[in-house]
């Protein structure tokens, strides 16, 4: 006979066996027995100031590491406060395991204090939710929860635990192996791979369209090998940034609504589009009947439901991106014909011509602080392997355009749901995973005000996150849309009534500075990145700056609005001069 343990002890041991080293959470009534056991359990706990931050931090941890992040909340409001972040993780296929307390089992359904139907509420926001009914079943459910979170298309899982389960005693039987390995998905056949290889060899103007699936399957090396072998240029979605080095000659950067002119032209004119771990999101495709109409399409995705969901494809390869790309590389090596190198070069030159016509740029001579310049300066001085977490809005798009990512799992963004308030707590989560790496939260003044209460968390646990506020004193993206599409009828976008972020940060004990002049940007960035403490810089940027290019709502990629190029030449020299100051 084994020793009977409490449900709390069994839960913590189950988490330990899954490799959990830190939990992001906030205690409350029904989870007190669990926190009592946590007191001496040897699993780290970060006390957040709002449960949403706990789930965003778990998301950031998961994106940075590739292993599930864990958050913990009490019943009722604690659980409901997790929901936005879980929905974001669901949209972006991020493995998060949320543990929620529930009222004692005999009170479920009786409108008890802090009772909420967490299973019901979380149903559409999670890949799966479990209600635990006895302490004895905890090991099996935790094992299943972690396995579900990482298997196939990853996603968030919620485990709801009534208080009585924490208090019950049982003899635990733990499942092996632990951590739970993911279930592999592979529906394609060798014939499918041969067919894909033929399409690739036959193409002359191919484009690789790469999404977050390449990152979640750790397929960056295979992608690079495939691209270099076939000379096919690579564009990434917002989720795919980092999957392919941005400075690689074959990199096209981001496509879609705020993608570059050259990239979207390449999509419009390609004869083969190879989508890998991407889902033809409406922000990528624009109006569907104008998307890549001249191309055949191959779609590689681990989720069979994504194939032909938004865009009909000629060939769907359902399987893990890494395995599938590796199989394609092997097949292409065996193939009697190779891609026509000369014609691929012509295609790349044509893309370069488009890039020269309308490069991503901004006014480098402006007297105001341009947000793009702040982003470029941050990228220039930050470590190459720095992790960047962004919020949602204009600054997110500028960061996507101008912060050149080199490595996977260094770009954290609430992309599908677009949840403001994500950046700062996600950065804390990533920092907890990698205490020795630079982690920068690039946030807007709007989004930061949604989760800035967790400055206290950063100070309490000495989480050395660097917070760069791109402050335009407005809900900038909303203002931009009102300017461009609502005849400048600006309605409730004014954020001038905001705290003094410098004084606020200092009140928490964080060193902070404000930058209002372009010439101060470099010094501020260098100083800000120079130590291992949480720091904040409030960059007062040009409030009139807009994100370009932009595809108007309802338009196709070909109808993108490109800001007239103003300072195409000598950009590099100007930047070099500024950084040399």
């Amino acid at each position: 006979m084994g020793k009977a343990l409490s449900g709390s002890e069994i839960l913590l041991e189950s988490l330990h066996r899954q490799g959990v080293r830190v939990v992001f959470g906030l205690p409350g009534g029904v989870v007190l027995p669990l926190y009592d056991a946590l007191y001496s359990a040897g699993i780290g706990h970060l006390l957040v100031r709002h449960e949403q931050a706990a789930a965003f931090a778990a998301d950031g941890y998961a994106r940075a590491t590739g292993t599930p992040g864990v958050c913990l909340a009490t019943s009722g409001p604690g659980a409901t406060n997790l929901i936005t972040a879980l929905t974001s993780a669901m949209m972006d296929s991020i493995p998060v395991v949320a543990l929620t307390g529930q009222v004692p089992a005999h009170l479920v359904g009786k409108d008890a204090f802090q009772e909420a139907d967490t299973i019901g509420i979380s149903m559409p926001s999670t890949k799966r939710s479990f209600l635990v009914r006895s302490a004895a079943e905890i090991p099996q459910i935790i094992h299943a929860a972690f396995k579900t979170a990482v298997s196939g298309r990853p996603g968030p899982v919620l485990v709801d635990l009534p208080k009585t389960v924490f208090l019950d005693r049982a003899e635990a039987v733990y499942l092996t192996p632990s951590p739970a390995p993911p279930e592999q998905v592979q529906e394609w056949t060798e014939a499918d791979i041969k067919a894909a290889a033929e399409l690739i060899v036959d193409s002359r103007r191919a484009v690789l369209y790469v999404g977050g699936g390449v990152i979640s399957s750790n397929a960056a090396d295979e992608l690079r090998q495939f691209a270099e072998m076939t000379h096919i240029p690579v564009t990434t979605t917002l989720m795919g940034l980092g999957a392919f080095p941005s400075r690689h000659p074959l990199s096209l950067g981001m496509l879609g609504m705020h993608g570059s002119y050259a990239t979207n032209q390449a999509i419009c004119n390609c004869d083969l589009l190879v989508a890998v771990g991407a889902r033809f999101d409406d922000r990528v495709t624009g109006r569907l009947d104008g998307f890549a109409t001249r191309s055949k399409k191959i779609h590689i995705d681990v989720d069979p439901a994504e194939v032909n969901k938004n865009v009909a494809v000629d060939l769907g390869l359902v399987g893990d991106a890494r395995e599938t790309l590796a199989a394609l590389v092997a097949e292409l090596k065996r193939a009697p014909r190779t891609p026509a190198h000369a014609e691929r070069q012509q295609w790349l030159q044509r893309i370069e011509t488009w890039r020269a016509e309308h490069p991503l740029t901004y006014d480098h001579y402006a007297s105001t602080v341009k947000p793009q310049y702040v982003i470029e300066t941050l990228a220039h001085y930050a470590d190459e392997r720095a992790i960047v977490a962004v919020d949602v809005g204009q600054h997110q798009m500028w960061a996507a355009q101008f912060y050149k990512m080199t490595y996977p799992r260094t770009w954290l963004s609430s992309s599908g749901l677009g949840s403001m308030g994500y950046g700062f707590p996600a950065a804390m989560g990533a920092q907890m995973a990698f205490p020795d790496r630079q982690v920068i939260a690039i946030v807007g003044d709007g989004g930061f005000q949604m989760t800035l209460n967790d400055l206290a968390t950063a100070v309490q646990y000495r989480v050395p996150v660097k917070i760069a506020i791109i402050n335009n004193r407005a809900l900038g993206m909303v203002r931009q849309w009102q300017e461009l599409f609502f005849e400048k009828r600006y309605c409730d976008i004014d954020l001038n009534f905001a705290p003094d972020f410098v004084k606020l940060a200092e009140s928490y004990g964080i060193r902070a500075a404000r930058v209002e002049h372009r010439t101060d940007v470099v010094d501020a960035v260098r100083d800000f990145l120079s130590d291992r403490e949480p720091r904040l810089v409030d960059f007062w940027v040009d409030p009139a700056e807009n994100v370009y290019p932009i595809i108007p709502p309802g338009a196709s990629l070909a109808e993108m609005v490109v800001e007239p190029p103003r300072f195409v030449a000598e950009e590099e020299e100007v930047l070099d001069d500024l950084w040399a100051v």
Partner: protein
């Protein structure tokens, strides 16, 4: 257009809840709905009224839902093209017995509370038409399925 959706899930009712929720979100009109228990889960059958594009979405949504083991979608089709029939009758109706006797080689896909989904041999199609006079029979063609071949008789057949 009328469609029939069948679902096999594990023993967690959350998958059935997700099905109902997606019907509600997509405004799918439910004509008939039946649920049967199996030793290790549930079988669900619903006749719904919706557009073909919505059915493709439903199929894809359901096939990736955790806890769903199999999902199939059938389109209402002229009897001459039918490979499946749904018989909606009183569970004790003699006509059901008669139909099942008429198609001894048919496979029972689903049975619960008077709802019987049968895969029928091709040569039986005209006999189906003849039998439909006194029984509510919906001829169907399977258009999407996570199962390559028809399941053997007995799936969800406890009520039979």
């Amino acid at each position: 257009m009328q469609w029939l959706v069948t679902l096999e899930t594990d023993n967690d009712m959350i998958a059935a809840c997700r099905l109902m929720n997606i019907f509600r979100r997509k405004g799918v009109k439910i004509g008939t709905f039946a649920l049967a228990t199996r030793p290790a889960g549930f079988s669900i059958m619903a006749v719904v009224e919706t557009a073909e594009t919505e059915v493709a979405y439903l199929f894809n949504f359901l096939r990736r839902t955790a806890g769903v083991q199999h999902v199939s979608c059938y389109r209402h089709t002229p009897a001459a093209n039918a490979s499946y029939v749904l018989i909606d009758a009183d569970p004790h109706s003699s006509s059901v017995t008669r139909i099942l006797e008429t198609f001894p080689h048919s496979k029972l896909i689903f049975a619960s509370h008077g709802k019987y989904l049968l895969e029928i041999p091709a040569e039986s199609q005209h006999e189906v038409l003849a039998e439909s006079a006194d029984t509510d029979i919906l001829p169907l063609a399977r258009v999407m399925s996570t199962q390559n071949a028809a399941r053997p008789a007995g799936v969800g057949a406890q009520a039979f």
